[in-house]
């Protein structure tokens, strides 16, 4: 995945790198603060590849480093934050909007972007 990550310059723009069983595997780089949001019908898995980030929930914060993963269940409000750049693998159903129930002029990413 390190070669594919080199092709990703922007933050918060997930790129599809694999598809299976109606799910997608995406790579994304985080830096800074994302927007609070939730996904109505999709659980999301975040697997740390490099750097550290955290997932903030309303009641707690989970720190995630390389080789660690967290699953955020559907319906749960959350926000991702990375003080320094972090590279992350996502597993989630196909065609999920990254900002869930929110449309954010800067952070809402185009869907369906692929790396070959």
């Amino acid at each position: 995945m390190s070669e594919k990550l080199k092709e990703i310059a922007e933050h918060w723009r997930p790129k599809i790198v694999g598809e299976l069983n109606g799910q997608e595997v995406k790579l994304v780089k985080f830096q800074g603060e994302f927007v609070w949001h939730h996904h109505e019908a999709e659980d999301e898995l975040f697997l740390g590849i490099s750097g550290r980030f955290r997932i903030e929930f309303r009641e707690r914060v989970v720190d995630v480093g390389p080789g660690e993963f967290i699953i955020v269940p559907r319906g749960i409000e959350h926000r991702t934050v990375a003080d320094e750049e972090a590279s992350v693998l996502l597993f989630e159903p196909a065609a999920v909007r990254n900002t869930g129930n929110i449309i954010d002029p800067k952070l809402t990413a185009p869907m369906g972007d692929r790396l070959d």
Copy 2:
């Protein structure tokens, strides 16, 4: 995941470590040769964590190391081989038999084994 991998002693016995969207995340250790098989209706993702392994297809072989992944599409006959121990993350639909269409007295693993 390194802590969870310490709890896995046997080879070829996937342990469920996460569930989302009807899919399961499993950890497994490979060593030696698996059995040729396919999965009728499930695609499988193999992500290398440590060590190297290969997936043999009838027409080619793919070598997979840490931080690399491969998706084996449903219906495609394959066999996993690791000359030395390799730790692997699997992502696949819930309740998949590890040996697919084959029942092997040694290699077919119990389904539903979980690590907490």
